[in-house]
């Protein structure tokens, strides 16, 4: 497939790298800046992506796909429009506004009119991701899967005295009903759980299931009394923080925003009513104390600079924030700081958006696994059953012979998401997900 990627920023480079690494796709990277990453196997085109000449130069006339991922939504939309006229087959456009502002159906504005086949609502997606992990103290991350609703959520450190510590998993069947525990990492070692596995305090566990069920399950487990978060400190002025604050204000959260005066005027965001805005550097102790960081439920760092976010999160944790969330965009930073795992969750906007794009493209599991899973030598396996996989299709899970140390966590099928269940009959076209050691995954993929 011939893919034109517009915008060689974090997201564009990341997707470009993944697509070109496959050897199935030709990637053309269009950017206005001349410093396009040399490590990507792609044809660089320097220039304005929203110009006819440059798009022609990039070969839009006979390309299959345009990914307009630059940081400017106007450029993206215009490029899609032009490319569609030039005859490109499919376009995906990154938009920063929300749907109601950009394509309100009530006013008859459809993406199709702009030559856009699919829209990547960048801000909305990121805010959704933050929102998802916001409510619960132990829920720190999730692994998005092919199906939009299917997720593997990560629980950071089983608390002491949890309902399920000490029990064997097979005794918990009733409580886990729609969930499966896909993996447990204990002291840096991967444990592929079976019925006899016991959960212990301090384990990091991976729960697979439908997004909403998973969250409900986690809330039920760890949020005794289930007091909703009420006190949030947000750092950094950006579209993401604006959108997030709007949502939190609707839930009657007490919000404080820390950002510098310059950022405030530069970003021109509309701070919702009732938010207390403190102007200053978020890395400043004085400001942190002024924002009552030691009493807050969640601290969310949404500055444009990853470094600021990471540092401020560390500080906030030190000053006593119950939960901290750092938004990062650079992939390089995802895994270099083991401390971040200690302190809470970090949302990587690039990965969230990339996995959404891959979901749209229906391409394999490109999502990176959390660092500690990688360290424990685990991989996430995604397997599609075809008509040829005789030893599985048409059989119940119980009858199937899986390799040892492989536990199917989820089955995604056209009609939805199913947690693995001994009585479930496999069909051709099903996607199976499992977390296991690489060699086990390899072994299994050969069996299919």
């Amino acid at each position: 497939m011939k893919v034109i990627i517009l915008g060689a920023g974090e997201l564009g480079r990341y997707i470009g790298k993944k697509l070109s690494a496959d050897r199935k796709h030709e990637v053309i990277l269009v950017d206005i800046k001349s410093e396009i990453d040399e490590t990507i196997e792609a044809l660089p085109v320097i220039g304005d992506g929203a110009s006819v000449r440059k798009l022609k130069e990039a070969g839009a006339e006979n390309a299959d796909l345009l990914l307009a991922l630059s940081g400017n939504e106007d450029t993206n939309a215009l490029a899609c429009h032009i490319a569609k006229k030039l005859g490109i087959k499919r376009t995906i456009c990154r938009i920063f506004s929300d749907k109601d502002n950009m394509f309100p159906e009530a006013n008859g504005l459809y993406p199709k009119d702009f030559g856009i086949d699919e829209v990547l609502y960048s801000v909305t997606e990121t805010v959704d991701a933050i929102d998802y992990v916001l409510e619960n103290e132990v829920l720190v991350n999730y692994i998005p899967l092919r199906h939009k609703d299917a997720k593997i959520v990560v629980i950071n450190k089983m608390p002491i005295n949890s309902e399920i510590t000490g029990y064997k998993l097979k005794d918990l069947a009733g409580k886990l009903n729609n969930m499966r525990i896909a993996a447990v990492v204990r002291d840096g070692e991967l444990i592929v759980p079976d019925g006899d596995t016991q959960l212990k305090t301090g384990d990091r566990i991976y729960v697979a299931g439908m997004a909403n069920d998973a969250r409900r399950f986690v809330n039920w487990l760890f949020n005794e009394g289930s007091k909703p978060i009420s006190n949030v400190v947000v750092a950094g002025a950006s579209k993401v923080s604006e959108e997030l604050m709007k949502r939190l204000r609707k839930r009657k959260c007490d919000l404080k925003l820390i950002c510098s005066n310059q950022e405030m005027s530069k970003q021109a965001i509309e701070v919702p009513e009732g938010v207390i805005t403190l102007s200053g550097d978020v890395r400043d102790t004085e400001i942190m104390n002024e924002a009552c960081i030691n009493g807050c439920d969640v601290f969310i760092a949404l500055d444009r600079h990853d470094e600021v976010n990471i540092i401020s999160c560390l500080l906030a944790k030190k000053y006593g924030a119950k939960k901290v969330i750092a938004l990062t965009s650079k992939n390089e930073y995802i895994d270099i700081l083991p401390v971040i795992d200690q302190m809470g969750c970090r949302i990587n906007s690039t990965q969230i958006l990339a996995s959404r794009v891959f979901q749209m493209l229906d391409e394999g599991p490109y999502c990176l696994l959390p660092r500690e899973l990688n360290d424990a030598g685990a991989r996430l396996g995604e397997f599609q059953l075809t008509d040829g996989s005789d030893s599985f299709v048409g059989k119940c899970l119980r009858e199937c012979k899986f390799p040892p140390q492989l536990q199917i966590a989820l089955i995604v099928r056209d009609d939805g998401v199913h947690p693995s269940n001994g009585d479930l009959e496999l069909k051709s076209g099903d996607f199976l997900y499992a977390i296991a050691k690489p060699e086990t995954i390899e072994k299994f993929s050969k069996m299919i």
Binding site: E270, V271, E273, V275, I276, T277, L278, S279, G280, E290
Partner: protein, 512 residues
Amino acid sequence: MNWKNVMGLVSLHVLVISFAMMLTTILGGTCFADPSQSIRTFVFVSIGGTLAGACGILMSGVRRPLHFNISLREGFLSVFLAWCIAVLLGALPFFVEARFTFADAIFESASGLSTTGASVVESEMRLRGGGVLNNGLEGLSKSLLFWRSLLNWIGGIGFVSFVMMIFPILGGGKPLYDAEVPGIKNTGDQLTPRIRDTTMILMFFYIGLTAVACGTYWLFGMDWFDAVCHALATIATGGFSTHSNSFAYFENSKLEWAATFFMLASACNFMLAIRLFMKRENPFKDSEFRAFVRTAVACSLLFASMIVIHFSKLNMLGVREVDVDFETALRTAAFQVASIMSTTGFATSDYVGWNLKGVSMIILLLMVFGGCAGSTAGGFKFVRLELMVKQCICELRRRIFPHMVPDIRLGGKSLKMPVVAQAMAFMVVYTVTILASTLILSFMQIDLETALSASVSAISNVGPGLGKISPACTWGFFPPAAKLLLSFVMIAGRLELFTVFVVLLPRFWYAR
């Protein structure tokens, strides 16, 4: 300063007042059947004024199309001058016709144009040359009574609207509009891109509301003359009545309820009503409107319950006494509250005569608060009050969060700090003016309660006050100097102080 521009603009205003006089002449000669000598002045002044205005416009060198390139200073100065000249012209009929003394004539005219509605006309009023007016208001000719109401009505919406209506080709009137229309400058208030179109919509609304009020009054039992005069005075929130006993003269509860409604309606932001009609927007979304209505309802109920508790018989204006039932109490309370809050100044009962100190204090406060911005009402305006409260809360919070970015909102929108600062400055100027006026009045041997309430009543364009200027009394007893001072305060209050005081600023007169 382009003096020709100023002269042209002032001339336009003179034309407006001349046309108004012409209207009075015509009506006086035909409908009211006044004797010809009593409309003499109107004839002379209207003809003279029209000629002078026309000459002024011609001499100012403005040719068609009438487009003034008005600077801010010229806008302020011409509005200020125009109001002064209008007061003088408006006083002429009282001075020449009814033989009022100079101070009385000026006071009556200023009180009319500023929509204050405080009158010096009383029975046994001393006239120029030693004469005495015997029957008070009832002793004046119908043309003069109509003229008083018309002054109210013109002053209510302001000259600029009339100027723009009569001379639709006038362009570039924004500085005039800003100098004359009360309220804070909020971006949401302009309906159309052209200020003239906005003014036109407002004007039609104003005329329409007046017509509806007039029809309602007539339907509920006033004769045509009273209905027209009272409608003009109600919608302008002026408060000049054609009878000494104001609304109590009619002894008609339906009329009182209708007047209560129209007074409150004209004290609300006209833009809200226009939006309600044009775009079906709910006015209750507006915080100022909510605060205004809540205050009105709360005060009415409070006064009504106090009346019910304290009185079995209630004195209405005149010598009439009525039995107190709940409807009477509520009606009387609501009428006085609406009259004070809208800064109209009609009355049915003398609240000072109730001798309830709490009521008097609340009345004084309501006088200060006034109505809503963008209406014909005077006073401090609820929206400014809201701003000040929010600013105070913001400053208090800043004690806890020293780095807080101040965020004052109106209708969900952040306000720029200069707007807030302007409201604060307005409060200071407002208070200082009241205090200064009270001080000067005190030196004229006027008791504190009367002096203070007269100053507040004048600056807020209410009409009645406390003490010796209760609704049952007139302002006739003030010494001439006090009358002139209060006339100035009334005009300053109508033009929301800044327009007047900016002219007194030395910087204003520097060429640079």
